[in-house]
């Protein structure tokens, strides 16, 4: 399995999905070898309760197995999963421009010497690594370097299927497939159209298209994404199957935490996700403005970071609601848990969301959710509020209703929490296993 991020080093849903899927596969007895760019330390002043592993504990040459401590830190073993870290600067949701920017920043920091790892120095989760100078400053080169490393790795490993997650691993998937002749499954967690709207990066689009066409089977996370794969990438329908994501059952009940900066009678509306065009932060703010026009004791929390963060903070100020919108920066682990515990409603106003695991996690934390109809997860959830992302008046109407009519929140929470239990990673893993047997069977030479 070729992936880009894995807990606790994640910036979005991809890592969560890879974790959930591999864990469920491990339980099914499927042997997974997971190759990912070497996770490097990120530090964030808000993630104080997350146990971060120092880079040294997982450092090593490409291809080195993850140490056991990593698994124990997670509190459980992934019995059948082996990890291979390949050193890289890559981040799953970055653009080539950002990559170059990170690269330059890192060189600068290295020169400044001593600023490494201090709070605020990499507020937005940028990776920093002492050996950055080993890498080259071009994202596409980096992807190909990863591909080459994956091929070397493949020659030493025994496996039956190659499963590549999202575009950055497609070249590696294609390379491994062509060297080994093993069937290739590409898993589309998002497409360039989701990330960039109509302003697609042609080079990324080409990589995606090539990967999808080279694959023996394409897995999409929703019918919404399946349609994009069919219409925008010209893949034949027979080859594309939908496997919905699942969610990990959340078991720990901890005492309520103090709500710093928020008065107890104040209601909290939560946005949690990357603050990028795709996630629709400006629609959230416009809705917030409309809510605040008629209600006072409510705060809007935006948890996450991203390329629109600065613009979003400015926009909140322009709308005159700056004092009602709190930005927390990127959250991990316990901090995510905490923010869910405080929230009265989780809002995901995504413009285009292939799936959207976060609403499932919100429901798992007993938080009712309001999601945009333009999300894959809307296909599987019924006990949630749904709205068109652009219809900020309706969004505000529904936010107010949740705050104003307690039985609504209660009913959503009860039914939603029950419904979310039916979305299991085990089912996703079984679907993948079925697809594996299918491609393995087809790959056998005809006698």
């Amino acid at each position: 399995m070729l992936g880009w991020e894995f807990p606790p080093f994640i910036s979005g849903g991809l890592g969560t999905a890879c974790y959930g899927l591999t864990k469920a596969m491990s339980n099914l007895g499927i042997q997974v070898t997971f190759a990912l760019p070497k996770p490097v330390e990120t530090d964030c002043e808000y993630s104080t309760h997350v146990k971060m592993l120092s880079p040294s504990s997982i450092a090593g040459e490409p291809g080195m197995k993850m140490p056991l401590e990593y698994m124990q830190a997670e509190g459980e073993y992934l019995e059948n999963v082996k990890f291979h870290a390949i050193k890289s600067l890559l981040q799953p949701y970055s653009t080539p421009q950002e990559y170059e920017q990170h690269f330059e920043e890192m060189i600068k920091m290295k020169r400044a010497n001593g600023k490494l790892g201090t709070p605020n120095s990499n507020h937005e989760g940028y990776s920093v690594d002492e050996s950055a100078s080993n890498y080259c400053g071009n994202m596409y080169n980096e992807i190909h370097r990863y591909a080459a490393a994956a091929v070397r790795l493949a020659s030493r490993e025994d496996f039956e299927v190659i499963h590549a997650h999202d575009w950055m691993t497609y070249p590696a998937g294609i390379a491994v497939a062509s060297v080994t002749g093993k069937p290739l499954v590409v898993h589309v967690h998002s497409t360039e159209f989701d990330r960039s709207g109509e302003h697609v990066n042609q080079e990324i689009y080409n990589i995606e298209r090539k990967g999808m066409h080279a694959a023996d089977k394409v897995i999409t996370v929703s019918h919404l994404t399946r349609n994009i794969v069919l219409t925008r990438y010209g893949v034949v329908g027979d080859k594309v199957e939908v496997v919905y994501n699942g969610v990990e059952r959340n078991g720990n009940n901890r005492p309520p935490i103090s709500r710093v900066g928020i008065q107890n009678d104040e209601k909290i509306i939560l946005f949690l996700g990357r603050i990028t065009m795709q996630k629709g932060p400006e629609y959230f703010l416009h809705a917030a403005k409309k809510v605040l026009d008629v209600m006072d004791n409510v705060k809007f929390v935006m948890a996450g970071s991203g390329d629109m963060m600065k613009r979003t903070i400015e926009m909140a100020a322009e709308l005159g609601i700056g004092h009602k919108v709190l930005f927390t920066g990127f959250l991990r682990g316990d901090d995510v848990q905490k923010v869910y515990e405080m929230a009265d409603l989780y809002v995901m106003p995504s413009v285009s969301e292939p799936f959207g695991i976060a609403p499932l996690e919100a429901l798992n934390h007993d938080v009712p959710v309001l999601i945009s109809k333009q999300s894959g997860v809307a296909e599987v959830l019924t006990h949630v509020l749904k709205v068109d992302f652009w219809d900020t008046e309706e969004m505000a109407n529904k936010i107010i209703a949740v705050l104003k009519y307690p039985p609504l929140q209660m009913t959503l929470r009860e039914h939603g929490n029950f419904e979310v239990r039916k979305l299991k990673w085990a089912d996703a893993a079984e679907n993948c296993a079925r697809i594996y047997s299918d491609v393995i069977y087809r790959a056998q030479p005809v006698c």
């Binding site: 008046e393 309706e394 505000a396 109407n397 039985p407 609504l408 209660m410 009913t411 009860e414 419904e419």
Partner: protein
């Protein structure tokens, strides 16, 4: 001996507009949608079925009989959107072979929340029926056939009714047959007509179900089932939504052909006949007492109230609407009163049902909303506006009262 007793429920609610918390309009009801649905159902069901029934009554020389319960909210809509439907019901009334039953004018659940409002709505419905069709109803059916012993006592105390119609639920019959007349406990004269849900649902629900082992159902087969009650039953109560004909069962299922040949097939056996509910209670005596301490209804397999009151949103919404009663009645504003009463129609609460929402069954089919949550939000926003209006009217009145 079995008499076939048809009763058709004829109802459409006043559906609400999309109404957000920001809306200030006092027009709550979706004229466009209500008119479109009313006309559509009139063309598919009410008009063709009325015509067919009229032909059948004439053809069988008055031997074919049926009963209707038409809600006040639907008659209001007929007058507004398709008055020609009213004249075809009137033509049926003129034949003398059609009985009209009483219910709450607003198809409400008022019995459960306000006894006084309940009785006022029955009175309003009875006088409307009398004005329109020339006859005061003598048989009562409550919204969704909701019933218990207490309701029977309340209805008997009005002195206006001879019988009540309700569901022949297994758990109240306890092995007895619904094909007899029964009496409620602690009532002097009131009789009970119980729905034969097996035979009723064969027509209303299973008629076009290809997986059903009796499919396809023709009138001769149905008449045979009726004949099998000879010697062991007085009456076969076939109670169903009138929209069964042409709307729930589309024309191409053959439902009209079935109805057309049914009287002939049933009357082939000289022991059979058709009767209206009032004729049934004159012709037969109750054989036993049926006790119903807990509420029943004709809905879903549970035959209880959970389709309208099964979740927190539903009970909250209905409590809120009845909490306004005192205020609304004090305000003495006709428009406010009508709006408030139209908000009592049971359909509004049915749309909020989350029971089978996942399975996409009938609840979803009948709802104008995408989800039960949307329906609750909409309803509560409207109710909140109504309350504000009401308070305003009362505030304006108070200074006047002080002067006097």
């Amino acid at each position: 001996m079995p008499s076939v007793c048809f009763y058709f429920q004829v109802h459409q609610p006043f559906r609400l507009k999309h109404y957000t918390v920001f809306d200030k309009s006092i027009d709550y009801f979706d004229d466009h949608k209500n008119s479109a649905i009313c006309r559509k159902v009139a063309n598919k069901c009410y008009l063709p079925t009325n015509r067919l029934l009229l032909d059948l009554i004439r053809k069988h020389d008055g031997q074919f009989k049926v009963a209707f319960s038409i809600t006040g909210v639907l008659l209001d809509q007929f007058h507004k959107y398709c008055p020609e439907v009213v004249s075809t019901f009137d033509a049926l009334a003129q034949t003398g072979c059609v009985e009209f039953l009483a219910e709450t004018y607003y198809h409400s659940l008022s019995y459960l929340y306000s006894r006084s409002e309940f009785l006022e709505q029955i009175e309003k419905h009875s006088s409307m029926t009398e004005n329109m069709f020339g006859c005061k109803p003598r048989v009562f059916r409550n919204t969704e056939l909701i019933y218990n012993d207490e309701l029977a006592k309340t209805i008997e105390s009005t002195g206006q009714f001879d019988a009540i119609i309700t569901e022949g639920a297994d758990h109240i019959l306890k092995g007895r047959s619904p094909s007899f007349l029964y009496r409620p406990p602690e009532c002097e004269n009131l009789k009970l007509l119980l729905k034969n849900y097996l035979l009723s649902d064969d027509i209303a629900f299973r008629f076009s179900n290809k997986a059903w082992k009796e499919y396809p159902l023709f009138a001769d087969k149905f008449a045979k089932w009726v004949n099998e009650h000879n010697g062991n039953g007085q009456v076969i109560n076939l109670f169903m939504d009138y929209e069964t004909f042409g709307e729930h069962q589309w024309e191409d299922t053959g439902i009209f052909g079935f109805l057309e040949s049914l009287p002939e097939e049933v009357l082939k056996n000289p022991d059979n006949n058709f009767m209206t509910p009032s004729e049934v209670i004159r012709a037969y005596e109750p054989v036993d007492t049926v006790s119903v301490p807990h509420m029943i209804s004709w809905a879903d397999i549970e035959r209880d109230l959970s389709a309208w009151l099964g979740n927190a949103m539903q009970s909250n919404a209905i409590h809120e609407v009845y909490r306004l009663e005192k205020m609304i009645k004090e305000a003495r504003d006709e428009r406010l009163m009508t709006d408030w009463r139209r908000l009592q129609t049971s359909d509004h609460f049915y749309y909020m049902c989350t029971k089978y929402f996942n399975d996409g069954d009938v609840h979803k089919y009948f709802s104008p909303y995408d989800s039960p949550y949307d329906s609750y939000i909409n309803y509560m926003n409207v109710l909140s506006n109504l309350q504000t209006r009401c308070k305003k009217v009362l505030k304006e009145e108070q200074p006047l009262a002080a002067v006097n």
